[in-house]
Symmetry: C2
Subunit: 166 residues, 2 copies
């Protein structure tokens, strides 16, 4: 059941509202729905012009099912903003008989939509897609504070992430 | 200066031998040089038939410079075995204005060739390739024991790695 209330005042209303939130693949028109602004809540993400967005979208779309960006949107909301997103890309290896590994990246929930489980819905769906694609594992990197969050999606701590920034 | 001594007995001899070790991209003929057997020292890696290897090689080669596998080989050695390997793949993002991230994966040095700095040479070259490709960062996951090893290549600890195995 859909609710267009922007600020549901009860737990029941929140649950009702979230039933209407759809998890779907990123579309070319999502530039107008605040997708880039949402990413900027995660990391440095300057706005892209419509043509820059279209070029980036086309580059990633060319990777087909090896690169999946999911978004959460409430079609019943008048704003039609993207509320959450997460990405899966599939790496192919020689290991494991030519095996595949799913990498979850760039998970973020709009500050005004947190606490509603939207990020977890996105991540669980990405994990399902990785499994359906035949990956033997799915991995992600996060800050130590987010261990419990990703544990809700079935992840366990495996190692440390190292980085060099140029 | 090349040395074909399989067991150099002095530090000078080791250094001399390693001058002859070349770091180069994986080639289709490396199946016969023990590449898959080397990977099996890292993780489960059943042997591949020649045609399976060729198919996997072609899949990855199709990714061009977005997927680079380096190997270390001593052309002066009669065995011509692959002594070390490491992989870089480039992920494209909407973040950072359509930025790129390099992922280092599947670094392994043959047990009989460890302690000669071959893995570090491979990883440093992968980092250079990531930088040349315009990546804004390069990342990898490892066990906590390998922090110091990757620190020698310039990496610093950034977060935790989480995983689900199917």
């Amino acid at each position: 059941m859909a609710s267009t209330s922007p600020e549901p005042s009860t737990a029941a209303a929140v649950a009702e509202a979230d039933c209407s939130v759809q998890i779907r693949r990123l579309e070319a028109t999502d530039h107008e729905k605040g997708f880039v602004a949402l990413l900027s809540q995660l990391s440095a993400c300057p706005d892209l012009t419509a043509s820059e967005f279209a070029a980036c979208f086309a580059d990633l779309a060319a990777l087909g099912d090896d690169h999946v960006i999911l978004v959460a949107e409430d079609p019943a909301s008048p704003e039609r903003r993207i509320l959450a997103t997460g990405c899966l890309f599939v790496e192919r290896k020689f290991l494991r008989g030519g095996g595949k590994v799913g990498h979850v990246e760039d998970v973020v929930v709009d500050a005004a939509a947190r606490g509603r489980g939207l990020g977890i819905r996105v991540v669980r769906r990405l994990v399902e897609i990785a499994k359906e694609a035949g990956c033997y594992k799915v991995i992600l990197d996060c800050t130590p504070e987010l261990r419990a969050y990703y544990a809700k999606c079935g992840f366990v701590e495996k190692g440390v992430q190292m980085a060099i920034y140029f």
